[in-house]
């Protein structure tokens, strides 16, 4: 997982509420076999509308997305996080997120920042003309206009994002604990290994 310490850049002033994962990435994109390349399908339906922020050259390549309430609701498809990552987004800022989406985003090195609606409104305004700065170490979102918004994050997630540590690597570091469990169970419930494998 790529490290995330601070992100500075333009932000898509998106703002839409209840964005479900079908909006982020429609179902027909689920037939891929790679995490890469899904950016092309991100917000596919919205991008058919003229004047959408995703095709506005002003915001091209922005690393930050500002959205409305309940971002990432709907199905558990991890493709939504992959699509955002492939689009170059490292931070999504919204008043609230679906739990599953937040988890999927985190597992893919994307930071989800929860801020109150007033802060979102202000950042939406700034984003139209100027960059936004997100600092994970100090847990703040700041602008060049003295705006400063603090946010909360689970300490474990912060630790992983700052260090670029992936969960699998962390669990594999504890392989000896898993070995011990397996050895114990092999004694207690030996029938657990399938009869034919």
């Amino acid at each position: 997982m790529e490290k995330l310490t601070s992100v500075e850049g333009r932000a898509y002033p998106f703002g839409m509420k209840n964005v479900d994962t079908d909006i982020v990435i429609p179902a027909h994109w689920l037939k891929t076999i790679s995490r890469a390349g899904l950016g092309r399908g991100a917000f596919e339906v919205l991008r058919k509308e003229p004047g959408n922020v995703f095709d506005d050259p002003e915001y091209a390549g922005s690393p930050i997305l500002i959205a409305g309430d309940n971002f990432g609701c709907g199905s558990s498809r991890e493709h939504a996080a992959w699509a955002l990552g492939d689009l170059g987004i490292r931070v999504v800022i919204a008043p609230s997120f679906s739990d599953i989406f937040s988890g999927n985003a985190f597992k893919n090195g994307i930071l989800t920042v929860v801020l109150p609606q007033e802060a979102i409104d202000r950042l939406m305004e700034v984003a139209k003309t100027d960059p936004i700065h997100v600092d994970l170490e100090s847990q703040t979102v700041t602008t060049e206009f003295q705006d400063r918004f603090g946010f909360d994050i689970d300490p474990f997630r912060k630790h992983c994002l700052l260090g670029g540590l992936d969960e699998i690597g962390l669990t594999l570091d504890e392989a000896d604990v898993i070995d011990r469990y397996e050895a114990q169970v092999a004694g207690e419930r030996p029938w657990l290994v399938p009869a034919i494998a």
Binding site: A27, S34, S76, E78, I100, L172, I178, P194, I196
Partner: protein
Amino acid sequence: MVKLRTLYEKIWDAHVVERRPDGTCLIYIDRHLVHEVTSPQAFEGLRLAGRKVRRPDLTLAVPDHNLPTTARRDAAGNRIPIADPESAQQLAALERNAPEFGVRLIGDADPEQGIVHVIGPEQGFTLPGTTLVCGDSHTSSHGALGALAFGIGTSEVEHVLATQTLLLKQSKTMEVVVEGELGFGVTPKDVALAICGRIGTAGGTGYVMEYRGSVFRDMSVEGRLTVANMSIEAGARSGLFAPDEKTFAYLEGRPMAPRGEAWDAAVAWWKTLHTDEGAVFDKTVVIDAADISPSVTWGTSPEDVVPVTGVVPDPESFADASKRAAAQKSLDYMGLSAGQRMEDVAVEHIFIGSCTNSRIEDLRAAAALLQGRRIADSIKHAMVVPGSGLVKRQAEAEGLDRIFTAAGFEWREPGCSACLGMNPDRVPAGERCASTSNRNFMGRQGPGSRTHLVSPIMAAAAAITGRLTDVREWMDKKEGVAA
């Protein structure tokens, strides 16, 4: 004093590898089922990181979601190419990844191939008291055998492949009690729909359910699979049945189940897997069996359930404003209006299949109703898709395929089929399907498709009349039809 525990807590405790200070536990996973849609990126991740599958012997792969349900080999035994290049690519990826990582693959034309949630129990891969995961939300099905089974995302699939564990927080517990005797024509599917209707699709969120009471004790293992399958439609990632003599009888002799002394040892442990008398659930839901009727859905959520003899509800009758708006949107999508009798709703498509209702008992029940009858002229397409190759063979040995085809149904190869629009089996926009599947979401059976969830015998009755129909009227006229 020993702490009184629920079944869920007993299984959880037996799988804790490590407990962290914040309550998160590293949980050991005994069984991992893999299919072609949610696994390619997980295997890709392993490959990129130079990791291997920790326990290929506890992992079983099978294609189901994308696979067309038409013939897969020609007369000479050559593979018939899959028209959709993306489906073909996902299937090819599974066929490449499984051997590369040493995972057993049941191939697309193997007699054991089928829907991942049908073949797990059928092969005896699913066992009581195990933790079982799969990158699919209907993994809850396996709870019917007393396995703690739940769906996971692709990163979690990769985590399980690499470590055979998952980091989880313990869920709350909910008992769903249905006491009494099910009425004539009332099936396990109707019980599952009744639960969705009663508690809503978010009612079980954050909980693991346990199905308790005489109705579930008396229910066959296959019926329990239908009920557990739809736990997720009521919001619960898992739904459990305590293993009992029926469970043991179902599993004994299955290819991957323990044998001999190992079997005896396993049964001895499984017999301890029940909620202790006096153990407390975080929530209890009680439903009287007598209140459950043969049911249909009218909307675009599995909680939109009414008795088939009922009418489309008036959106204005819902107390909460967001529900009123959702109901109106559903009715607009479904092309229905408030007060319309469900039995007046004409359907053009019939789908008997999916991980909810594609096992042999489902097919027997539907065939018994269709014996000697024909589908209505107004039905454009009726299809039976057995849940596995073994179900298909069994049905053919019993002559069920001939009953279905004589009635005007197509008899297909096993797969997920028209349950979701990922393979060629779809319902056209604006057309209506009486379907034995689990989700009536907008566009689920294809863009613009309209789905009415029903039991297999209700689907058969709708096929005969060309409209949603109270199956009891047809059962009265015929001897020997079992619900």
